[in-house]
Symmetry: C2
Subunit: 102 residues, 2 copies
DNA sequence: TATTTGTTTCGTAATTAGACGAAATACAAA
DNA sequence: TTTGTATTTCGTCTAATTACGAAACAAATA
């Protein structure tokens, strides 16, 4: 088990991860939408109505945001309520703001 | 000439553009490096020494950051001095900070 | 003029992302 | 039990990203 030398700091990798997740206008739109409606949580269909993409494509974008830890979905079939993942969201905020303020 | 309905706001598109540019650890490393050495500007070779990637690959990442408007290169053959593009950098900062603070 | 030097561009290959429609899923209601 | 509904997963396609080494570049120097 060799110890690999670390090139990028943990912070750099997390900044990259969150940035990548936000690197598409659909995903920025989703985050905006969820922040704006933070009180009520949202269904995939609510967003689908405002987006010019197939529902399956939206679903993929939601999955990516979920995997990055920025949102979470609460299953409530046949609906799925989406909302901001507060932990990930505030970590991303903290990291990015620190990244820019130096 | 039909007028296409706009789905994403200009801000959303710019947030996505800058985020995408920062969506790779090498590029986050480069920005960190340039901010840290903002006084002296930097050569590609300075960064290449600290990165485990081919110089041509680094060059590609530099190009992406340049195209996103986050850095600029001043040619000074055979060197190229890189530094932060203050305009783009502060726009990105403004956009991202606003994006997270709402 | 030929060489050296730091960097980029080119050509190529492998992987990942983004998009769609069709099919699957999981529960509610009829 | 069948039907309906909202959403996801699957299969597939195309395009973009990431990576490399070789070749090209542009100016300084021998």
């Amino acid at each position: 088990m060799e110890i690999k030398e670390k090139v990028y700091t943990d912070k750099q990798e997390r900044v990259a991860k969150y940035s990548k997740a936000l690197g598409h206008p659909v995903r920025v739109f989703i985050m905006d939408f969820l922040v704006k409606n933070a009180d009520k949580c949202c269904y995939s269909g609510d967003m689908a109505e405002e987006l010019p993409i197939a529902r399956s494509t939206l679903s993929q974008h939601l999955k990516e945001l979920k995997e990055a830890g920025l949102i979470q979905g609460e299953i409530n079939p046949p609906y799925i309520k989406y909302c901001i993942n507060k932990t990930g969201w505030s970590e991303a905020k903290e990291l990015l703001v620190t990244f820019f303020n130096r």
